[in-house]
Every structure is written in structure tokens, then in C-alpha cells.
């Protein structure tokens, strides 16, 4: 994956859009234009203590001067969102990477069906704006507890009109995956939200004949896998033949770095794809949420993935 520029951006506005969601609009202190992006893209916020968090851009890609994000306070999360809610105010400087898109709209699709859960709605705001402007055929299912807790619902209504289908559980309407129907040619399915919703969408899609390459899921959190027990293995560098030992308690990425092999990285939890590199032979235990199945035979994410006994890296 590619390296991305990190910029010091200024918080232009910070407004609470629901009791738990903070909308931030970020601008460059001196440049009128920021790096371009496409709907579905995210940026990394680099917090002062070194933590890095990904947030989808929810504004308008045509508006080149600002990046809009919406951050939900997760009190039982890893602390990044709580820090943002507690500290960022208009006028503050925040360190932000240039955007990357791991969740793009399928260019060849004739119809787009999107399922958003809670704050997972953010990438779909940008997508819906683009699809509505280009007259594309789409439906956005938006799941939340209540009207009050549904982030940016008013903006979505204005963008989508009748193509927005709200599912508010407090009103007794829980999302029913059966509405997604069977797979039809040219229709692509997208989902972003809590793990439970993603599992529901995936399970329905698998049962209703949707091919993997027409189901797109945005994950900002590694798949929980508490039973995984790491084993040591050897990593061979194809360029030099050097063999590095990766102990059970260290990542391949950490061992490569220690050897002085500079690898770009960002989330280090198998989500962002920054550190992905090629490999040749060996049995790899893929533990990331980024590399598509079709690419897993020759690409791996050294931050979380490991190998059985040994692997040869294209490094």
C-alpha cells in the first residue's frame, strides 16, 4: 500500500450532531485545497499520544478545502474517540493523513444497496451525495436506535429523499435483511456499522447468492479473535535470503522494523492495509480485515498476520 502525507489541519468547526456524535470540519491553515478523495475514503487522525484512528470522510468530495468527519464517543472503546470528544475544539490543530479509499463505490454497478448502522453511516453520506448527483440507482438502509441517536439523519433525508429507508429500533422497526433480496446482476451491496450488523448482512448475502466481489464491507476494527494463539515462525527475505525469527509474542512488522526494514504502517490492527507486502511461498495465517480473498495467495499484512513455520517475503 502507499504512504500518505500527514498534515497539520485546523478544526474549523466542531458541533455535536447527536448526544454522542461530534462532527468536525477540518481545514488547512495555509492551503486552500486538500488532497482529493472519492466517496468511501477515510483519513487517519493521529492523536498526541501516538494512537491512530480512522474516520470516513462524510462531506462533499467536490469541496476541496475541507475534510468532514463524524466521531462517535465510544466509552468502552480504546479511548481515541473519548479523547477527541474531550479535547478537540474549533481552532485546534490535529494531525491528519491524506485520504485513502478502501471502500469505493463499484464503478460498473448499475444499482447500489447500502446498509448503515449508527455511526457507520459516515461513508454513505459521501456516497449518497455522489450517487444522487449522478442520478444513479441506490437505496440506503439506515439503522439506529432512535431518530435522536441517528447521526446526520436530516442531512441524509435531504440527500436521499425516498431512497433513504430508516430502521429505528426504538420505534419497533429492526433491520430485516430479507429486504436486501436476492442477488441481481449489476447490483452491489455495501455495509458499514457494528459487527453484528455486518455479520447479518454477510450471512444474508451468502445465503441469497451474492458473489463476494459484489459485497463490500468497511471495517474499522479488527475481527475479534480471542482464541488465536500465535506461534513463532521464520520469515525469509527474498532479496537477500536472510532469515528472521518472529517469536510468538512479536509481530512480523515489529521484527522487520527491528532489522531496519522500513515498512509504512498505520493502524497496526489489520484494518488499514498500509503495511501490506508480497510473499512467495509458505502458509500464511491471514488475520487482517483488508486484503481481499483473491489477493491472499501472495499478499499479507505483517502487522497481524503470521505464518505456519516459515514464509518468504517479497522484500
Amino acid at each position: 500500500m502507499t504512504a500518505r502525507m500527514i498534515m497539520k489541519l485546523r478544526v474549523d468547526t466542531a458541533r455535536r450532531v447527536t448526544p454522542r456524535v461530534l462532527h468536525l470540519s477540518l481545514v488547512h491553515p495555509s492551503r486552500p485545497e486538500l488532497p482529493a478523495w472519492t466517496p468511501g475514503a477515510h483519513v487517519d487522525l493521529r492523536l498526541p499520544d501516538g494512537r491512530i484512528r480512522q474516520y470516513s470522510l462524510c462531506g462533499d468530495p467536490a469541496e476541496r478545502g475541507r475534510y468532514d468527519i463524524a466521531v462517535k464517543r465510544e466509552d468502552d472503546g480504546r479511548g481515541g474517540s473519548a479523547w477527541i470528544h474531550g479535547n478537540l475544539r474549533a481552532g485546534d490543530i490535529v494531525h491528519v493523513s491524506a485520504p485513502r479509499n478502501n471502500f469505493p463505490l463499484a464503478e460498473n454497478a448499475t444499482r447500489h444497496v447500502m446498509v448503515a448502522g449508527g455511526i457507520g453511516v459516515t461513508p454513505f453520506l459521501a456516497m449518497a451525495r455522489h450517487l444522487a448527483a449522478s442520478g444513479a440507482d441506490f437505496t440506503l438502509h439506515c439503522c439506529a436506535r432512535s431518530e435522536l441517536e441517528a447521526p446526520l439523519l436530516g442531512e441524509l433525508r435531504a440527500l436521499c429523499g425516498g431512497r433513504l429507508v430508516p430502521w429505528l429500533s426504538a420505534e419497533g422497526r429492526r433491520f430485516d435483511p430479507a429486504v436486501l433480496g436476492r442477488s441481481e446482476p449489476g447490483t452491489h451491496l455495501y455495509a458499514c456499522g457494528p459487527q453484528g450488523l455486518l455479520d447479518t448482512v454477510r450471512a444474508h448475502a451468502a445465503g441469497a447468492g451474492w458473489a463476494d466481489d459484489r459485497v463490500h464491507v468497511e471495517v474499522f476494527r479488527p475481527t475479534p479473535d480471542l482464541s488465536f494463539k500465535p506461534e513463532p515462525f521464520e520469515a525469509r527475505l527474498a532479496s537477500t535470503g536472510e532469515v528472521l525469527h518472529v517469536p510468538a509474542d512479536r509481530s512480523l512488522l515489529a521484527v522487520l522494523r527491528e532489522r531496519g526494514i522500513a515498512m509504512p504502517s498505520s493502524c497496526e490492527t489489520g484494518v488499514c492495509g498500509s503495511c501490506v507486502c508480497g510473499y512467495r511461498d509458505g502458509i500464511v495465517i491471514h488475520r487482517d480485515a483488508f486484503i481481499p480473498v483473491r489477493d491472499r495467495q501472495d499478499r499479507l499484512a505483517p502487522c497481524v498476520s503470521r505464518a505456519r513455520v516459515s514464509v518468504t517475503l517479497d522484500l
Binding site: 504512504a3 500518505r4 527491528e258 526494514i261 522500513a262 515498512m263
Partner: protein, 190 residues
């Protein structure tokens, strides 16, 4: 980014194999007189460059505030010279004319996008490996030719690798520190 915990292996400019070899070879342009146009630093690897109205050069270290002065830049495995990096405005001008025509169109790099510290005009950088030269009160030593990197292409999202080949600038060590400012005259110190 690519920060490593290991202290980067840096060498003095004329101890680098390229600089050392060149000191023994006579030649190169003389009688020129150039000017410093811009000073840029990046606080850490991958960070956007910031322009300075004046830069404090520290002998044997770098420009205060820059990633290589702080030891938080992107490093190769081999011992290197990176206290200060320079690029010719003339090379950037050529990119803007798409000369040579390697790309679909022109490449417009804004100041600092090239990620070199000093942008200079009228300075034959490719002649200065193994040479000492002056920027205002500061004396630099040309250690090796800079080489375009894929990393820069990725950061910029622009295909600059090939058009910058052989005109990517000069990596220098600082022999005598001091303050530099845009407008400072640059000339050979010999």
C-alpha cells in the same frame, strides 16, 4: 511511519563512499553564483513540509526542527548523508514544462512538495559531490547525489520518479553551522 528504534546510521559527507571518491576527482563547474529560494522542514517522516523564513543549521546534525535533525526521518539501511537536502529550481521548472516528455502532462510541484530542505537557483548540484560550498555563513559538503524514491511518488500521488532521475538534488553534511535565509548567495567555498 517508518521510524525505527535503531539510531540511524549517518556518516560525515566526505566519509560517505560517494563523497569520498569525488573529493579525489578534480573538475566541476566553477565561477557560478546561485541563490537560496526556499527553506522547508518536516517535523517527522511523512509530515507535510513547512516553509521557514530562516533556518538554523547545526553542524553534523541538520536544520533545527527537521526530521533528520530530530532523528525521526525515513532512513535506508546503509549509512547515509541527510543533514540537509537540496534541489534545483531548474529541475522543478523542467517538470512543469514536462521536459523530457515522460508523462501525460506537466507535473506541478508546489514548494516543499519535493520534500527537499533547500530549493536553490543557479547552483549546479550534480557537480557538487565531494565539494564544499557556502550558503550565507553556512558551509555545506556535498555527500552524494539524491535519488528519487518511490516513497515520494506515493506521498504525492504523482509519477515523479522517472522525471527526477539524475536531477533529484544533493544530500549534504553541514561543515559550519549558522542561520540561512531565502536570498542568501550560494557559491563554492574552495
Amino acid at each position: 511511519m517508518t521510524d525505527t528504534n535503531d539510531a540511524p546510521a549517518m556518516v560525515e559527507a566526505f566519509a560517505h563512499p560517494a563523497g569520498k571518491a569525488a573529493t579525489a576527482v578534480p573538475g566541476g563547474a566553477i565561477g557560478w553564483r546561485g541563490v537560496l529560494l526556499h527553506i522547508h522542514i518536516a517535523p517527522s517522516a511523512s509530515y507535510e513540509m513547512e516553509e521557514l523564513a530562516e533556518g538554523l543549521c547545526v553542524a553534523g546534525r541538520g536544520i533545527v526542527g527537521d526530521r533528520y535533525h530530530a532523528g525521526s526521518g525515513t532512513y535506508s539501511k546503509k549509512p547515509d548523508v541527510r543533514e540537509v537536502t537540496l534541489i534545483e529550481q531548474e529541475a522543478l521548472d523542467a517538470l512543469m514544462r514536462n521536459d523530457p516528455p515522460l508523462q501525460d502532462g506537466v507535473l506541478r510541484l508546489r514548494p516543499g512538495d519535493h520534500r527537499r530542505n533547500l530549493t536553490v537557483r543557479g547552483v549546479p548540484l550534480n557537480h557538487l559531490v565531494g565539494r564544499r560550498f557556502r550558503i550565507g555563513e553556512v558551509i555545506l559538503r556535498g555527500g552524494r547525489l539524491n535519488f528519487p524514491c518511490k516513497y515520494l511518488e506515493e506521498l504525492l500521488g504523482m509519477p515523479v520518479y522517472l522525471p527526477l532521475y539524475n536531477r533529484s538534488g544533493l544530500n549534504c553534511g553541514i561543515e559550519r553551522g549558522g542561520v540561512i535565509r531565502p536570498g542568501d548567495v550560494i557559491e563554492l567555498a574552495e
